[in-house]
C-alpha cells in the first residue's frame, strides 16, 4: 500500500512537472536579408525580449498551467514568394500554435492567405496598411495604428497651430507612402487647408532639386510626406540646403531612426509620426512600464528601442494577456479573448475591431508625433509633441 502511494505520489509529481514543461510555439518570419532587414530585425528583437522575459518568469500562466514560449522562425529574404512556403511550414511541420506577422504590409497580406485557411491566429505588427483587414479575414489582429492615421494626426497638430497654412505633399511612390498620403490629402482639404502642391517621387530618388524648386514656387509653408530612410534623409538634407522657407516638415519612417541626428541642422524641427516613442507616458495596466521596457531593451541590445521593437514586444504582451484570459491555448477561446481585448500597455491602448467588414483592424491605438528638437545643451533629441496629453515638449512652430 505504501509503495502504491509512493508511486502515485511520484507519478503526480511527474505530471505536475510535465505541466510546467508545456511549451507553445510561435511562428513568424524575419527579413534577415533583403531590403526590409533593418526594421524587421528591430521587430524581431521586440519578440525576443518578450519571450526571454516571459520564460524567465516561468512562462505564460493560464488555466493552472505554465507555457514556456519557443519560436519557429525563418528568414523570408524580404521576399513575398518565400512567405507562404515558410508560414505553411511553420503551421504544418513546426506545429506553431500562434503566429506573428512578417514585417511590412505586403508580406503580411501574403502570409494571411495561409494563416487564415488554417484558421490560425496571427498578430500583425509592422503592417499598417488597412486593406488586408477588410478582405474577410477572421484571425488577423493588427497591432499598429492603421496607415491612414500617420499624417492625419500631423494635420490635426497643424490645425491647432496654424489653420491657414498652405500644404505640399511630397512622397515616395511606394505602397506604404501612397496608402498614407491619399487619405491625408483628402483630410487636409476637409480641414480647410489649401493643398498647393502634390508630387510622388520614384523610390531611390537622390536628387530632389526639381521638386524642391516646385515646392518653393508653390509657396507652401508646410511639407508632409517622405517614404523610407534613404529618400527621407536626402529630402530633408536638400530642403535645408536650398533654404526652403518651411514652417513645418513631417516625414514618414526615416526621422524615427536614431541615425537621423547625424543630419545635424537639417534634422532640426522635422516631425515623424510614430507608433510609439520611449518618452510616451502611457500608464501600463499590464506588462512593464515604458521606462522598464526601454531599460531592458537597451541593456540587451545596446541601442534604444524603435517603434518596431515596441510593436514586437507589445504583440507578445497582448497575446499573453489573451491566453491568460482564455485560460489556455485553444484557438477559438484565445480569438474570443482577443476580440474583447481593450488594454493599455506601455505601447498604448490596444483594441481590435469586431465589425465583420474590418475584423481585427486596430481601433484603440493612436499615432504619436515626435519632433527633433535641440535640448538646452544643444544636443538633438526627439520629443513627443502630440497628443497633447502625452507630450514631453511643445511643438516648435515655425521651425526656424
Amino acid at each position: 500500500m505504501k509503495r502504491t502511494s509512493l508511486i502515485a505520489f511520484l507519478l503526480s509529481l511527474f505530471f505536475v512537472a510535465g505541466g510546467f514543461a508545456q511549451t507553445i510555439t510561435l511562428g513568424f518570419t524575419v527579413s534577415r536579408t533583403g531590403s526590409l532587414n533593418v526594421d524587421s530585425l528591430e521587430q524581431y528583437r521586440g519578440f525576443e525580449l518578450w519571450r526571454d522575459t516571459v520564460n524567465a518568469a516561468g512562462g505564460i500562466k493560464a488555466g493552472g498551467k505554465s507555457y514556456k514560449v519557443q519560436f519557429a522562425s525563418y528568414d523570408d529574404e524580404s521576399n513575398s514568394k518565400r512567405v507562404q512556403q515558410l508560414y505553411t511550414r511553420m503551421i504544418l511541420e513546426d506545429k506553431a500554435d500562434f503566429l506573428f506577422s512578417p514585417y511590412s504590409s505586403s508580406l503580411t497580406a501574403t502570409a494571411s492567405i495561409v494563416t487564415e485557411q488554417y484558421e490560425k491566429i496571427m498578430l500583425t505588427t509592422g503592417a499598417a496598411e488597412e486593406k488586408t483587414y477588410k478582405l474577410g479575414n477572421q484571425h488577423l489582429y493588427q497591432m499598429f495604428a492603421p496607415a491612414t492615421q500617420y499624417l492625419t494626426v500631423a494635420l490635426d497638430a497643424l490645425k491647432a497651430k496654424d489653420p491657414k497654412a498652405t500644404v505640399a505633399f511630397v512622397y515616395e511612390d511606394a505602397s506604404f507612402s501612397v496608402a498614407v498620403v491619399t487619405p491625408a490629402k483628402a483630410y487636409a482639404q476637409q480641414l480647410g487647408f489649401n493643398v498647393v502642391f502634390t508630387e510622388a517621387y520614384a523610390p531611390n530618388t537622390t536628387d530632389f532639386s526639381a521638386i524642391i524648386d516646385k515646392v518653393i514656387a508653390s509657396k507652401a509653408t508646410v511639407l508632409l510626406g517622405g517614404g523610407h530612410y534613404a529618400d527621407g534623409s536626402t529630402l530633408a538634407r536638400q530642403l535645408y540646403g536650398h533654404k526652403v522657407p518651411l514652417k513645418m516638415i513631417s516625414l514618414l519612417v526615416a526621422p524615427d531612426s536614431p541615425q537621423w541626428a547625424e543630419l545635424g541642422d537639417a534634422a532640426v524641427g522635422v516631425i515623424v509620426p510614430s507608433q510609439w516613442e520611449p518618452q510616451s507616458t502611457f500608464k501600463a495596466q499590464y506588462g512593464p512600464s515604458g521606462a522598464d521596457f526601454g531599460k531592458a531593451y537597451t541593456a540587451k541590445y545596446n541601442a534604444p528601442p524603435s517603434y518596431e521593437s515596441a510593436g514586437g514586444y507589445a504583440s507578445g504582451l497582448v497575446l499573453q494577456h489573451a491566453i491568460e484570459q482564455a485560460g489556455g491555448i485553444d484557438t477559438d477561446k484565445v480569438a474570443g479573448a482577443l476580440n474583447s481585448t481593450d488594454i493599455t500597455t506601455f505601447y498604448g491602448r490596444t483594441k481590435f475591431s469586431t465589425v465583420a467588414s474590418e475584423h481585427g483592424l486596430q481601433v484603440g491605438h493612436a499615432i504619436v508625433l515626435a519632433q527633433w528638437q535641440k535640448d538646452k545643451a544643444g544636443k538633438l533629441v526627439k520629443q513627443v509633441i502630440w497628443p497633447l496629453a502625452g507630450k514631453s515638449a511643445d511643438l516648435v512652430y515655425p521651425i526656424h
Binding site: S80, T88, S106, I113, L135, G136, A202
Partner: protein, 321 residues
C-alpha cells in the same frame, strides 16, 4: 515525332510525380516547396528560349510574369472572372504586348538589346505604379471571398498548384517542340551568326519577335496563377529585378540551350535556397553558401550541369536534350 523522344516521357513523368507526391498524404508543406520549384522551371525554360536558343540575353524577363499577374488579378478581382479564363487571357494579352515590344527592341543586338530589356522592365514598372485601375503603387488585393466559388482557399490553392504543374509541363514541352522544329533551327542559326542566318533566308527580326512573344505567354499565365495564390500584387513584388537575375543564374547552372538543363538548374537552385533557408545550422550563412556553390559549378562546368554530363557521357545527348 515528339512521342519518340525520351525527354517527352520524362517531362510527363516529372509532372505526374509533382502532382502525385504532395496530393498523396495531403502534404501541403511539400506542395509549397514544389510550387516554387515549378515556377522556377517555368521562368527558366521560357527564358531559355531567348538566351539559350536565340542568343539574346533578356534581363527583364520577369516583366512578363509581373504583367501576367496584374492582368490576371485585375480580371479576377475587378471583373470577377474565374481563375482559368483570367490566367489564359493574361497570357494572350502579355504575349501580344511582347510582340509589339519585340518588333521594336529586337532590332538591337548584343549588349544594346540586353540594356533595352532592362528599360522595358523599368518602363512597365513605372507605368503600373501610376495606373489608377491597377491600384498604382499600393497594388491590388484578392478578397477572401474570391476563393469561395472554388470551394474555399484550401481547394483554390490545390487547383492553382495543379494548374502551375500543367504550365510547367507545357513550358518544357514547348522548349522540346521548338528545339527540333524548323523554327528552332532558324533560332539556332540566329544564335550562331545572325548575319549568316539572314543571308540564308531566315527572317531574323520576325523570328526573334515571335520567340520573344512566345516566351512571354506561359510566364504570364504562371504570374496570374501565382499572384492569385499570393493574395496581392504590387509593383515592387511583381517586377522584382532580382528574380530576372536568378533566372539567368539557374539557366547557367543547368546548361543554357538545353531543355533538361533549364529544368535541372531551376530545380536545383530553388531546392538549394529553400534547404539552406530552413536548415537550423546553415540558415545564417545561406547566401554565402549558395553563392560559393554557384561560383564553383560555373567555374568547373561552364556549360552547366548538362554540358558537364555531355562531356562525361557523350551519348547522353541523344536522350537528354
Amino acid at each position: 515525332m515528339m512521342l519518340r523522344r525520351p525527354l517527352f516521357w520524362l517531362i510527363l513523368l516529372l509532372a505526374a510525380v509533382f502532382a502525385w507526391l504532395p496530393k498523396h498524404g495531403n502534404n501541403v508543406a511539400l506542395r509549397e516547396d514544389l510550387i516554387l520549384v515549378a515556377v522556377a522551371i517555368i521562368l527558366t525554360s521560357n527564358l531559355n528560349l531567348m538566351i539559350g536558343y536565340t542568343g539574346y540575353v533578356n534581363f527583364g524577363h520577369i516583366v512578363f510574369y509581373g504583367l501576367g499577374g496584374y492582368v490576371g488579378l485585375y480580371l479576377m478581382t475587378v471583373r470577377s472572372w474565374h481563375l482559368i479564363p483570367a490566367a489564359l487571357t493574361a497570357g494572350v494579352a502579355v504575349s501580344v504586348l511582347a510582340l509589339l515590344f519585340g518588333l521594336g527592341i529586337l532590332r538591337l543586338r548584343g549588349a544594346y538589346f540586353a540594356l533595352a530589356t532592362i528599360g522595358v522592365l523599368e518602363a512597365v514598372q513605372a507605368f503600373v505604379s501610376n495606373f489608377e485601375s491597377w491600384g498604382r503603387s499600393t497594388g491590388m488585393y484578392v478578397s477572401f471571398e474570391s476563393y469561395v466559388p472554388m470551394g474555399g482557399p484550401k481547394h483554390a490553392l490545390w487547383l492553382t498548384y495543379f494548374l502551375i504543374i500543367g504550365v510547367m509541363a507545357l513550358s518544357l514541352m514547348l522548349s522540346l517542340g521548338i528545339r527540333r522544329s524548323k523554327f528552332g533551327l532558324g533560332l539556332f542559326a540566329i544564335r550562331e551568326d545572325e548575319d549568316a542566318a539572314i543571308v540564308l533566308g531566315v527572317n531574323a527580326t520576325l523570328y526573334k519577335a515571335i520567340i520573344y512573344s512566345v516566351s512571354a505567354f506561359l510566364p504570364a499565365v504562371a504570374g496570374a496563377l501565382m499572384f492569385f495564390k499570393n493574395g496581392m500584387i504590387d509593383p515592387s513584388i511583381a517586377f522584382e529585378y532580382m528574380l530576372s537575375l536568378e533566372g539567368i543564374v539557374m539557366l547557367m547552372l543547368g546548361g543554357q540551350g538545353t531543355v533538361a538543363g533549364s529544368a535541372l538548374g531551376a530545380g536545383l537552385y530553388e531546392r538549394l535556397r529553400s534547404y539552406l533557408l530552413t536548415s537550423p545550422r546553415l540558415s545564417a550563412f545561406h547566401l554565402v553558401i549558395a553563392g560559393a556553390l554557384l561560383l564553383l559549378v560555373i567555374r568547373l562546368a561552364p556549360g552547366g550541369l548538362i554540358g558537364w554530363l555531355y562531356r562525361l557521357v557523350p551519348r547522353s545527348r541523344e536522350v537528354i536534350e
